[in-house]
Structure formats: structure tokens, C-alpha cells
Symmetry: D4
Subunit: 227 residues, 8 copies
């Protein structure tokens, strides 16, 4: 047996198993999706190559699905699957337009964990005025955690983390060329942040950022409910 998806992860971890399709054959991905659907009623698939996407859509034509095109992600639901609402609230901010695919992957994961997700995209670092107002609204709405996606200089997460009283997850994206390109400068700059309360995931790891944010927000939501 070459393929053993972790069907009990959600129960154990409160976070769903995600199929990483990039380095798998279409056939392997389909088989893993079937196992997950059978076990949990849902299959989340990330970094889906174009061919695999076509194969998945053909195979699961009878299922309810959602495709996040920019993020190359897909979710397949067992007929009748109902996504629970956790009460957690996650904000996802992107520095530029090029960061949107990765930000969207993060948003998808938080949503699939039951969170409400609010997006603020393409705020730039030179246009902080465009950020301040929606950010304040978000904080007023009681957002539990922020994900800030940025490539190139990676300065935005540090700026945001200097302003807000909630945990911030820095999500570097592989945008940028030359030395420090492909997200390296962005990641290093976030790791070197002067601002408190910023932790990071790897370059383009929207899945990791989304799950971490989901775990935090859901824990807070659970505390809200229990008391």
C-alpha cells in the first residue's frame, strides 16, 4: 500500500487532512480523495496540476465541488455534507494582486474549518491609508487572528503586527525576482520582524497559514461558546 491518507486527523487534530497533489499522479490523488470522502465526507486538494484538475472534475462530476481557480485548489463534498460553522473569525490580508492565489488557499482552509473569513486584498505597503480603515472595521468586528500574505520585501506583516492586538501569521509568497526573490526576502524579513506577535509559515504555504489561523480562531470561538 502506497497511499494512506490520515482520515482521523480532523477528529484528532481539529484540522482536516489536505491532499498535496503537485507531486502525485492524477490516479493517486483520485484514490486518496475517494478514501477521504469515504472517511470524512470531504476531500480538500491543494496545488492541483491542470491535468489532475480535469481528471478530478470528471471523476467527481456527481459530487458537490468547489474550485478555487487562482489557488489551484479543489474541495469535494459527499452529497449531503454540511460544513459546520465554528464561530471563529479570520482576517486575510494580501499586499498585492500577485499574492492573491496564496491568500485564497489560506482563506479556503480557514473556511473549511468552519471560520468566517474576511478578505482585504492588494493594500500595498505604500498605500497604508487603504489598509487602516478596513483593518479597524475588522478589529471592531472582533476578528480573532490575521493572516498577512506578502511577497517581495515582505514588509506588510511587520507593519500590520505593529498595529493590531491579535496574533498575526506571516505568509510569504514566491513573488519577486533577483536576489531574495521567490519569497526568500519576504520570509526572512518576517522572521526578523521588529513587531511582536508575528509567527510565520513557509513561502506559499497557504494551507499551513489557514490551518494555524483556524486552530487559533476556533479555540477562541469554543471558549466563547463554553462560557
Amino acid at each position: 500500500v502506497e497511499i494512506r491518507p490520515d482520515t482521523t486527523r480532523e477528529l484528532r487534530k481539529g484540522a482536516p487532512e489536505v491532499i498535496f497533489a503537485e507531486t502525485k499522479t492524477g490516479e493517486q490523488t483520485i484514490r486518496m480523495a475517494q478514501t477521504l470522502l469515504a472517511g470524512t465526507g470531504r476531500a480538500i486538494i491543494s496545488r492541483v496540476p491542470a491535468e489532475t484538475m480535469t481528471a478530478l472534475q470528471a471523476t467527481f462530476a456527481e459530487y458537490e465541488t468547489q474550485v478555487r481557480e487562482a489557488a489551484h485548489a479543489m474541495v469535494i463534498y459527499q452529497p449531503g455534507y454540511v460544513r459546520k460553522r465554528s464561530g471563529g473569525h479570520v482576517g486575510v490580508i494580501s499586499a498585492g494582486t500577485s499574492d492573491v492565489p496564496v491568500a485564497d488557499e489560506a482563506a479556503l482552509l480557514a473556511e473549511e474549518m468552519g471560520c468566517q473569513v474576511t478578505r482585504i486584498y492588494d493594500v500595498g505597503v505604500a498605500g497604508l491609508h487603504r489598509l487602516i480603515e478596513p483593518l479597524q472595521k475588522l478589529l471592531a468586528d472582533g476578528v480573532d487572528v490575521l493572516i498577512v500574505a506578502a511577497g517581495m520585501d515582505g514588509a506588510l506583516p511587520s507593519v500590520v503586527a505593529g498595529l493590531v492586538p491579535v496574533p498575526v501569521i506571516g505568509l510569504p509568497t514566491s513573488v519577486g525576482y533577483g536576489i531574495g526573490g521567490g519569497g526568500v526576502a519576504a520570509l526572512l524579513s518576517m522572521l526578523q520582524t521588529c513587531a511582536p506577535g508575528l509567527s510565520v509559515v513557509n513561502i506559499d504555504n497557504g494551507v499551513g497559514a489557514g490551518i494555524t489561523a483556524g486552530l487559533i480562531a476556533n479555540r477562541v470561538a469554543q471558549a466563547r461558546k463554553q462560557h
Copy 2:
């Protein structure tokens, strides 16, 4: 004016300003500490060089202080300062004995943010049995977030994040020699984790890990209280 500590950070961010003493003269550190004490009643100082430590202890002999020797950290309290208890609960795990100074720095920050901190030290990656039991107790006690400090191979945070339903903060330490030494392999391995819900801070950044954990735990605690 060369020195302007951020005295309103705690109000704004829910996280204290911390003086980074390593690249400052003793005199600069003392002046910053005085400003912080005046503004907030407390000064937290990290990475204190031996000479500066002596100078601080002489200058603030009349104050209540606590020194974390391994972590080279010091906290000075205005007479009568009372540390509030937030109700948050943070677990700090270290892989080896050599990771203790960094783990201690993280613990200190979470404590100064009002959290209860439980330590599990020197569990090794080859001695997982030594980890399982105290970890289960910690989860049963309702810990809100875990910090896992590890140098060398940095495998422990991935292993822990695969087991627990709370957010985990990977804290790589500069332990290890040869290629990937000084914490580089540990950091990279954590960023490459297969386990969900692990975010990281930079090598030896106990301050960053402690504050992030404190923000998460305090937010959960606040939700517990408000409802």
C-alpha cells in the same frame, strides 16, 4: 534623541515592549529601562551582556527584580507593581538541555503577559515515551497553545504538532554544528513541516515565541471570561 522605547505598546498591542540589550551600551539600556519603568511600571530586558547585567543590578538595587540566568534576561518592577493574571495557559517544551535558555526566555514573556506556564524540558526525539504522558496531562489541563523549542534536527515540533489539537509555535534554537548548524536545519525543518498547525519564529527568538503564545492564550482566556 536616540532612544524612544514604545511605552504605549502594551495598551495598543496587549504585548509588552522588550529591551534588546545585546547591541546597546549599558548606558542606553539603563536609560530605556528607566523610561519604561516610568511609563509602564516594568522593564523587561533580554539578551543582557554580562557587563550590562552588573550595571543594571547596581542601578536598580532598590527595585524588585527577577533574573533568568540561563536566558540572560532580567525584569525590573516598579515598587508595588502587581503582575495581573490573564487566565491564559501556555506549555513550553524543550527537546534538549541545550535548548533551555531559549525556552526559558519564551516562558518568561508568557508569564509577564499574565499566563500560567507549564514546562516540559529535555524530552528528546528518541524518548517520545518521556513526552507522551506529561503532554496528555497538559492537554487535559486545558493548555491553550504550545511552544516547542528544538535545535539540531528540529524534529520535535513536527512530531508534537502531529499529536495535539492546539496551535504549536516552533522555536528553533542555535544548537548544532556543521552544515545546517546554529539552528538553520531546525528552522528549515519546522518551516517544511508535514504537520498541520505549526507556525515558527526565528532561531533563538524566545521573545517572539513567548509573545505570540501569550497573545493567543490571552485571547482565549478573555473569551472564556467574557462568556
Copy 3:
């Protein structure tokens, strides 16, 4: 003369010559295979580009061959070639599904050196329970050496090496993106291992891992026979 395969390696070294087809023209690979077949009765070819694979299959249609598709490897046998059984026993473990091609290359080499090879694939680092049982069976069966293939965080070989009393060969795979991706974090983490008895080969070097394991297992097997 541009091409001189080492036809006496097997005699001298107890390890077969392997043709590395990736940076050779199809024609060069075919000529080398012919020389090896003539000299040793067998040609093992690794990292075969698609075109070369087709050319090889056409050229050696009359020969007995085996193709490891995932590993892009091929073995051609002189008619009547009989693979000897050495009595050595090698275990090959893979962390994920994406590591299987490299793990398979390693397994192939150990088999061609006459070893019995037992595979345990896709055990994850978050699913250690899936590992423990088959691993114990393997040890009970008297396995001589383990190869552990892992990409991304590369944590599994350290975990395994902390558990078993036989030598472990860490085989990093080029799985993973972002910083430390392409197997770099995995390799560094293995080199920084806290666990005793783990040595490593380069990223994706299934051939090297397989031959090293084969040499160890065969040496033990020989001692078993001689006494």
C-alpha cells in the same frame, strides 16, 4: 573513446555499476548498456528520460527487462541471467507517497545486490502508530539495515533511528517547496540528527542508499553463512 563503463566493479566492490542516463544521449546509454551486458550479464539504468526509455525498450526487446516506472529505472538481463540471493535483508520506509519513486530506486538496487527487501510506505510523521507495528515485525524478522526516505521536514529518519538497533540510512527526497524545499531541509535535518546511527546520502540518491544498504546487509549475511 568517450564511454568506458566499469565492468569489473561488481567483482571489485561487490556493488554493480549503474548507468546514470539523465545527462547522456540515448545512444550513449544504449552503448554503455551493451558493454555492461556483455561484461556482466546485466545493465542497471537509472534516471532514464522518457525518450531514452522508449529507445532502450526497442533496442532490448529480446532481453528480459524490468522497469520501475515511478523510479524511472530499468534493468536489462542477458538471457539466462540468474540473480543470486545473498541472504541480506533490507527494510525501506517512506514518509509519504511522494517519496515512493526514490524509495523504489533504493529498493531496486538492494534487490539487484541479492537482498530481500521489505517496504513500508507512506507512514507519515504524524502517524507513528502506523509505523510501530510493521517496524517491530521487521526487526523480529531480522532486518539488517533500514533505509528511511523522507522529504519536507525530514523528521522520520531521526525518529526511526531513535527506535531501532540497526544502522539507518537517511534518504532525503526532493519533495517540498519554499525555503529548505527540494529536499534541502530534509537533508540538513538528517545531518543534524540527535539520534545515533544515522548516516545519509544526497537528495534523491536512491542508488547510493540502496548500494550502501546492500553492502551492509550482504556483509552481515556473509558472516551468517560463513559461521
Copy 4:
């Protein structure tokens, strides 16, 4: 002859020769200073080791000197030397207290090129409000060029360059530990800037930043005078 300072640089380039004392013996530095004093009436010496500093002060006790302690820099003037005023105006901003030595080295060079230099130090990236006001005053005063010194995340120069209509020179400092430490993340982040009009010099190269700013400001000043 081992030592040939470039005594005609100022005439040719409009920028002074600077003695880099770090990798020279005290004796070599003194001889170079003497040659420069004889040729140009002034010797600017950077990165002076403590011992060399003492030797310089003894040797040139009869001269007018100025020592920038934090920057480990010294300038020696021939008796009667009069520093010309160019009319150029340079602003020097530092992100933190630890960046001051490098910022000071840059300021010194611009001053020695005849510029008026205005400093704004320790503004932080989380305290932009502390920056906005003095920055606006500086622009109103007609500053020609800004130098922004920052270590760690290196985010400040990008933020400033997004706000001002004058050229900005990013000056990364070797502040920060862990991966991307020693100024590497700061430099890379500046090179990856999203903001227009930011060029950079190497880590801790206050001399280079100061001279570049001086050349720009003096050229503008000259245009002001000539017309």
C-alpha cells in the same frame, strides 16, 4: 610602496578618500592619514580599531580632530582647514537605536562633503506616527535626499520610500540574529522593495550611503546656485 591613498579623488570625484582602518595596521593608517592631510588638508578614517584610535589621537594631538564614537570614525583637519558648505541637505533616519552607529557614519560623510544633515533616530516601524511629523517638516525644509538605516526586517526604507518624493538610499545594518540576521534580511528586503526610488548600499556601509547622498544633494545644490 604599499600605500597610495587617492589624494586627487575629491577633485576628480567630488567625494573624499576615506581610510578604511579595520584591516590595516595602526602604522599604515597613520601613514595614509599623513599623506591625505598633506594632499587635501583632511583625513577621514572609518572603522577604526580601539588601538589605532589611541595611536591616531596621540600622533595627531596637535591637529583639530573630531571623533564619532559610536561610528568608530575620526576626522583629522590640517590647522586652518575650513570645511566648505555646499548647500546640499541630507536627511538621515534610523529605525532603531542599534542602527545609530552606521547612521552616524553616513551623516559624517555627508557633513564632510559640505551638506547640512538632519537626523531622525529610533522611529521604529511600529511607531510610524513618530516618523510622519518630523518627516513632513524635513520635506518642507527642502531636503534633497534621504538615507534610511535599518537592520532586522529592513522594512522602514520601503515604508519611507512609499511616502516621499525624493530619492531614498537604503542602508541596511548588521543588527539581528538568526536566519537573515547580521543585516542580510534587511538588505534583501530593501532590494526587493515594492516602493519606487529606493537604491541601496551594502550592510553597514555608512560611508557609501553618505557619499552617494552627498553627491546627489551637492549636485542639486549646485544647480540651485548656478541658476
Copy 5:
């Protein structure tokens, strides 16, 4: 909203917004171009993929456009748009033929900022005699700033900066293979320059070099006019 070009940048910064098309879909680029045209009368688009170029040319067939083929750049003008002349003068030098695309991108930006641009291309580092004469003419003509593009060894900017009394912007290009290839050695060598007055932008960042040079030249030109 995913796309918010900075239409007021030119007013605020004196530098135009530039659309980075490489990591955007054709559709996103077209929408951004439309917004910019509406807001400022002009859209500058860099690093345009072949497909997007075709789409742009079809969409804006009615507009005045200019295409810099080597640089993969395009400018679209609102009918009746008149480019102002600032009076600034920028020199652009390239070491080799392979550096021309990047040098051309820089030249384009300076031109769009209203500068007169003089080019000296393919001067080599081994043919300095080919450089000296046109360079002297350029200085005699009163050039305000030089951009020097070079790949491989990156030696030319240091050589030029040792000769001229104006600020020099080093523009490393991704030319060269082997270690230090892709512009890395060129960038590092420029950052390590022994020559005064050289600042740099990232590899292949013609846009950044052009804007920085434009800001400097226009500031000098403005001073010339005002006085």
C-alpha cells in the same frame, strides 16, 4: 476587489505606477491598465508575457502605444496624452549586448519621467577605451546621473564610479552561468565596490534603476529651473 493600482503615485512621489505583468493574468493586467489610463492618462507595463502582450495590443488598438521589445515592456497613452519634458538628463551604459533588455527598461522609465536619456551600450570591461570618449562627452553635456548595467563579473559600475563626479546606479543583470551566475556575482561585486558614490538596485530591476535616476535627475533639473 483584488486590484487597486496606485493612481495617485505620480502626484505624491513624482514617479509613475508601473504594472508588473509577469505574475498577473492577462485579464488582471488589462483591468489595471484601464484604471491607470483613466486616472493618469498613461499605463506603463513591465515584464509582459508574450500572451499578455498580444492581448494588450488587441485591447488597446485604438490607443497610442510604444513597445520596447527587448525589455518586454509597453506603454499605453490616452489619446492626446503629452509627455512632459523635465529637463533631467540620464546616461545609461551597458557592459554587454546581453544587458540591453534591462538597460532599455531603465531607459524607458527615465524617459517616461520626462528625462533626456543617452545610451552607451556594449562597452565591455576589456575595452575601456571604447567607453572613455563617449563618457567624457556625456559629462560635458551635463548628465545628472548614470545607470550602469552589467552581468557576469559586474565590474563595470565600479570602474565607471571611480571615474565620474555624478551619482552612479549599479544595475546588475541576470547574465552569467555557474556559481555567482544569474546576476548574483554582479550584484555582490557592486555592493562590495571600492568606488565611492555607487548605489544599487536588485538584479534585472530596470524599473527601479530608471525611477531612481529619474528622481535624481528631475530634482536637479527642478533646481536648475527654479533658480
Copy 6:
């Protein structure tokens, strides 16, 4: 509790626990040594700082000890401790004189695991004739595994692995300056080996090489005994 040496490692793994003293206080090392002595009758301590060495010798003056000066290693035996002989045979080769400390650390570990160890030191890569004869004698004596320590170019392990029919463990040492210095080129060259049957440990990791060799040799020896 901060210190928990793995006293059952030897039973479980067939390899001894080793105290890594470099990043521990003298006091911590002494306490760990005491625990190990109590649990296993022996304490092996590596990378002992000078001060800790003195403290150990004072504390354990009554014990039988052996000190490997070059390797900065020490072993302390409970009175009456008898080191068992396993029957395994390990060869340790060093390229140069400067590699001896690391080679000695490896030899020590293999000896403490009960192996017979034969050393061939300072053979150079330009003096292969000095290697051939003792190597042939070693093979004739039935050596089970070879460790080859080399710094600088790291060529020797590849050369040796091309000649011998036993597994070879490459042990890079931190000898060499300039690019690739500190053992990096040696390690990379070993990982890139053209020779079959070479696996490696990290730079200067004599402990890892010695234990791996010991595990291999002892397994062969055990097979010899059992049959």
C-alpha cells in the same frame, strides 16, 4: 527537571548515550555524567570545553578515566567497569594531520562499543601509495567498515570507496578556509560522490561516524558469532 540522559539507550539501541558538553554548563555535564555512571557504569563526554574538563577531572578523580586530548573527549568508568569486546573491526583513515581530532573521536566511540579499531592517519590524496599497502592489510584482516575523515577538498573518501568492498562512512572535518571552507566543500563532495557505498555524517561529527560504524561492525560480528 532539566536533564534526563537516555540511560537505556545502550540496551535499546546497542549504542551508548554521549553527553555533548559544548553547550552545557560544567555543572550540567557533571550531573549528567553522574546519572549515566549510575545507570550504565560509564559516561562518554564529547566536545568538552577546557574548564569543564578540569571540573570533570576534579569531580571524578577517584574513577578510572580516559581523556582523548586532541578530540576533547573523556570517558569515565565506574570502578570495576569492564568494556566488552564485540568482535567488530573498524578502520579509521584520516587524510591529513588536521583531521586527527575528529578521527580520534570516531575511533573512541567505536572502541567504546567494543570494536577493534585500526588507524591509518595523514595519508593525503597526493600520496595514495602511502594508503594502498596498509589498506590492503586492513582488508585482509577482515575489517568490517571504514571511516574516512577528510577536510578541504574531501576527495579521499571517494577515492577509498572506489577501491574497497566494505561500506565506507565519510566524515568531513572543518578544515579549510575560503569558500567551501570549514568542511562544507568536503561534505558536499562526499554527498556528490561517484563511488558506490559511501554514506556520510555531518562535519566534525566523529560521534555519529563512530556509532554508525560500531553498529555495522557489531552486527557483522554478531552474525559471525551466532553461526
Copy 7:
């Protein structure tokens, strides 16, 4: 003018200008070739992309040409061009078959500089016996300088330089995968050589190795002739 080949290089330097076609358009390469043919009677073109090769062959169908297929190189001669014989003698050794293209490029350059070139290819590092005999013949024939091309571990040049009394030029090739792959380990290992008299050029730089060897051999040959 964008293209200015250095037509007087051969006179000035004793080394021919070589067109680097990889980063040029076909048209640019053809124009440069025409200029060189007109100026020197010969055009040497390296790293020719397939399309450019076709275009060159069509354009220069009337000329005498030679194509080195493996090396992707081409030489075009003016009708009646006679290559002079310098009397220099260069040996070119390759470690493996995959290094042949680069070795061939080096050989071509030395030949075009008038040298006699003797090749010894695919000697391996594990088959030194295959090297010794032809090497001794080469030395007996009075070879002036050796080029040794090797990828992967890069060990062969060090081994050869330890054996011969002539200067050796290490030519690393981009063969090898994993860490240190693409020629990096080979280059670093050569730079770290323990053997005297080995200098290196960059990875895959056959042109540089060939010209350096040609300059050395021709200088010796000239001395032979003049005396």
C-alpha cells in the same frame, strides 16, 4: 549601436574573441559573427541555441565551418583562412561521459589558439589505473598544461594535480543533482584542493579553461621557438 565585438582582442591578448550566443538573438549572433569574420577571418561561437545554430548554418553555408555538436559550439572560417600551429601542447581529461561537452568546448578553444590537443575521456575516479598509463604517455610527450573536467564530487583534478609536474586547470561541470549539484560541489572541492598547482575556472566554462591553457602552452611554445 548595440553590438561591438572585440576584433582586436587576438592581437592584443593572444586569445580570440568568442561569441556567447546563449543570451543573444539569432540575429545579433549573426551580425557579430559577420563583424568578426570581416575583422579576423574567423568567428568562434559558443553555447549556440538550436535555432541559432540552424540560422548560422543557413547564413554561412558558403563558408568553411566546424560544429562541435556535444559542446553546442561552432567555428566559421573566412574562405582561405589558415589556422596557425603554435607548437603548444594541451591535455584535456574528463572524469565521466557527462563532462565531455564541456571538455570539448575547452579543447576547441585550445585548438583554435593553435595548440595540439590530446584528450583522455571518462577515466573516473574509481578507475585511476585507466588514467595512469595515458597520463604518463602525455607527460612523456611533453604536454605543457592539463585541463581536468569533472562534475559531481570534483575529486579528479585534485588527484591529477597531486601526480603531475605541469599546471592543472580544474574545469567543474554542471553534472550532479541534490545538494552541491550542478557543479557546485565540484567547484568548491577544486578550490579547496590539497594539491599544489591547481587553479580553476567557473562551472561549465570550457571557453575560459581552453583560453587559459592556450595562453600557457603558447607562451611555453614561444620560448621553445625563440631559443
Copy 8:
């Protein structure tokens, strides 16, 4: 036996054995020096730590010695030792004053190989006029090979190699700070050179540069004599 200097290297290679004292104890260096003196009449010792230098001078007080202070090198001659003159001529150029120690080490080796050595030091890259004249004189005097030592930007060797018809050996020095510092940028820039006929040795490897130059010059000289 731990120490076996290569006493027959000079005969075999035409290049002397050099003791690398940095990583040896004083005692080891003295023993090696004695062996070399006994075998060849001379001991050349490089990178001598201060303590070892003192010990050597005491031990060999009766011998003729020469000490190159800047280079930390020493040569000891057997009484009556006569250094032969080979007739070879080597030029050694340094870019700055800080490169002198390394340049001197190279010069020493060439001298000990019997060559005439001419030095041109501190020519800078901005002061090429200071270089041109002595360089032309050197070429007129018939120099056989040039060594060019440079740190920081490493531009000088490329400039020189573009001007001269003899082989040039680039000798990068560990001068320079910030990114690319410690000689890295210099080395990479030399490896990426646009100029023909430049080969390099590692950073600070004056020994390697001197021996390579000596081998080349002596071979030419030998040809001059024989004919």
C-alpha cells in the same frame, strides 16, 4: 604516526611541500619542519599562529630563516642551503593595502620556487593610471604570468586580464564586510569574469596562487633554457 610531510613533492611536482600551521599544534609543526629540513633542506610554513612563530624561532635559532610578517609565513633553511634561480618571472599586483599579506604569501612561494618576483601594490580600481605604466614595464621585461590579489569587488583581475597577453591568476582576499564580504564577492566576480585567460584560486590562498604561477613561469623558463 600522525604526521607524514610529503618530502618528495618537490622532485615529483616541481613544487615544494608547505606546512599549513593554522590547524596544527606548535609541536606538530616543529616536527614536520624538522622532517622537511632533513629531507629537502628547507621548510616553508604558512599561516603560522603567533605562539607557533615564537616556538619556531626558538627551536630553529641556529638556522637561517626568513619571516614574512604580514603573511604570517616563515621559511627555514638548512645551513648552506642555496636557493636555485629558475629564470621564471612572476608579477604580483594587489588592489589595496589590505590585500598585501595574501599577495606577499604568493610572492614568497614563487620566490622559493626560484622565480624573480616583481610587486605592484595598492593600485586600486579607481586609479588605473597608477597601474598602466608599471604594468607596461613589467610586460616589456618579459613577465611570464601575473597574480592579481583583490578583495571587496574583485574587479581588478578582470580589468588586468582584459589588458595583458599573459595568463593571469586571480587571488581573492578576505577583505570586505556585509553581503559578499570576506572575499566571496571577489571570488565570484573573478569566476564570472568577462576577460579571457583568468583562472582563480580560493580566497586568501596565496600558497596556491604562488605555486601555480611558479609552475607556469618555470616551465616557460625551462623552455627558454633548453632551446
